[in-house]
């Protein structure tokens, strides 16, 4: 119990004491996972909508890929991306390996299927005639998309939360394509793995506590948005 208590005390000390190294890790974690979630939302929501509303030959195949992607193991993403970004790999010329950019890319691959799949599921839960009703009211395709997204606002924010939760907590892909370089690519999860490996359990507990707090704060904010009353004005 002592070690847990020490860890919690150290977490508070590290944050309150303004430890530059810890704040740097926290900042990079938020930057990488926030950027990945934003990109995944920007791509995944339209993709989910298109899969829900569109009818094209490869639709079922794409949906299968998206659904499979929702359970993609981070280490597999990390391995695949490492091979692509390796100096002699097909994307080696981009010089992205062991940079925050590679970590963002890996996390996008993990969060995108989640956001797209949950958006697709949410739209498919709506009454199919609602789409016809909105079109019958004279909506353009863009207006139809906006109105449908407003109808699924709650599940949509749930999808964003799931995406953020998946990437802020993953370790395998970030470790493999980021390299856990101090001051450059070290994030909360990879730093926790390192501290545990070194037997620095108090530091590991402190970092985990910060990670949990961060996740709770972001999820809390999105939940507040999700639970606010409906509002229809443009």
């Amino acid at each position: 119990m002592d070690i847990i208590w020490q860890g919690l005390v150290q977490a508070v000390e590290l944050l309150v004491g303004g430890d530059a190294q810890v704040w740097g890790i926290v900042g990079l974690s938020l930057l990488v996972s926030g950027t990945a979630t934003a990109i995944s939302t920007a791509l995944g929501v339209p993709l989910g909508l298109a899969l829900a509303l569109g009818r094209f030959p490869a639709r079922t195949g794409v949906i299968s890929v998206v659904n499979s992607g929702m359970g993609l193991p981070p280490v597999v993403v990390g391995l695949g991306l490492s091979l692509l970004l390796w100096r002699t790999g097909p994307l080696g010329g981009l010089h992205l390996l062991y940079t925050p950019g590679a970590m963002v890319l890996a996390q996008v691959l993990l969060a995108l299927p989640l956001v797209a799949g949950l958006t697709l599921a949410a739209v498919q839960q709506l009454d199919p005639r609602l789409r016809l009703q909105i079109l019958a009211l004279g909506a353009t395709r863009g207006q139809l998309a906006r109105l449908l997204l407003r109808e699924i606002r709650g599940p949509l924010l749930g999808a964003v939360m799931a995406g953020f939760g998946a990437v802020i907590s993953e370790v395998g892909a970030s470790l493999m394509v980021g390299g856990n370089i101090l001051g450059e690519t070290r994030v909360l999860t990879t730093a926790t793995v390192l501290a545990t490996g070194r037997g620095e359990f108090d530091v590991a507990i402190a970092l985990s506590t910060i990670l949990l707090g961060l996740t709770f704060l972001v999820a809390g904010g999105l939940t507040w948005l999700q639970q606010r009353g409906p509002h229809l004005d443009e």
Binding site: D127, Q133, A136, L137, A139, Q143, P230, L232
Partner: protein
């Protein structure tokens, strides 16, 4: 465009679902201001016809004509023409928000300023007898009240054609009777053309001037309500009328 052209018309229409033909209709026309009912049992193809007329479902063969012009499949043209129509389905299908916001929605989609759309919406809610519920969220009203709001939403856009897909089907008999009376008054004042899809002869008698009978995806009789009632084309048509008397 010829002055004599019907407002809405279908020619040589055929609609298939998978390998099954669900609707075959050589010709049907709706004139401006006319009230046409289409009656038939479940599965006769009534709702499919309504979706085709509302330009929500492209026909497999044949064409829809609006004011004498064939309707193409271009998205911008479809939106422009749909904005001259309105559809009310069996279920109210209101969106998130208050009844006022729902009724104003069609006007807002057409770019009308919020205040102007709200004023029109409030007026139509009053005509349908639910003005006192304007600020109520859509999820907190009865089905009957929601269907009145749905009708108000359709009429608020001043459509040239109003398409009604069994709008009383989800209501109990009391609410249905009350709404039939209100709708008859409102439609008389609005003077738009109406296509009413129903399986209830009482609704046909109350609201329509002409009626088409749809059985098994085919239009088996078309005439004035009196003609069809007095001279049904077959025993099946007579049975359909008798069931609703």
């Amino acid at each position: 465009m010829s002055e004599a052209a019907p407002l809405l018309e279908v020619r040589e229409l055929r609609v298939r679902r998978g390998r099954r033909t669900v609707l075959t209709l050589p010709h049907l026309a709706l004139n401006p201001g006319e009230r046409l009912a289409v009656i038939g049992p479940n599965g006769a193809g009534k709702s499919t016809l309504l979706e085709v007329l509302a330009l929500l479902r492209p026909p497999t063969q044949g064409a829809v004509y609006f004011q004498g012009q064939p309707v193409g499949g271009h998205a911008a043209e479809l939106v422009r023409l749909r904005r001259q129509m309105a559809v009310v389905f069996q279920r109210p299908l209101l969106l998130r928000g208050t009844l006022l916001e729902n009724v104003a929605l069609g006007l807002r989609l057409r770019g009308q300023p919020a205040a102007q759309a709200a004023a029109v919406a409030q007026d139509w809610l009053a005509r349908l007898g639910v003005a006192h519920l304007a600020a109520r969220p859509a999820g907190q009203v009865s089905v009957g009240e929601a269907q009145r709001a749905s009708l108000a939403r359709a009429l608020a856009t001043a459509p040239a054609v109003l398409l009604l897909d069994e709008p009383f089907a989800a209501l109990d008999s009391l609410a249905r009777h009350a709404l039939l009376g209100t709708l008859d008054e409102v439609l008389t004042a609005a003077a738009c053309a109406v296509v009413l899809v129903t399986h209830d002869w009482r609704e046909v008698r109350r609201l329509a001037q002409r009626v088409g009978v749809l059985l098994g995806g085919h239009l088996v009789q078309l005439g004035t309500v009196t003609e069809v009632a007095q001279h049904p084309a077959s025993a099946d048509v007579a049975a359909l009328i008798a069931a609703g008397r």
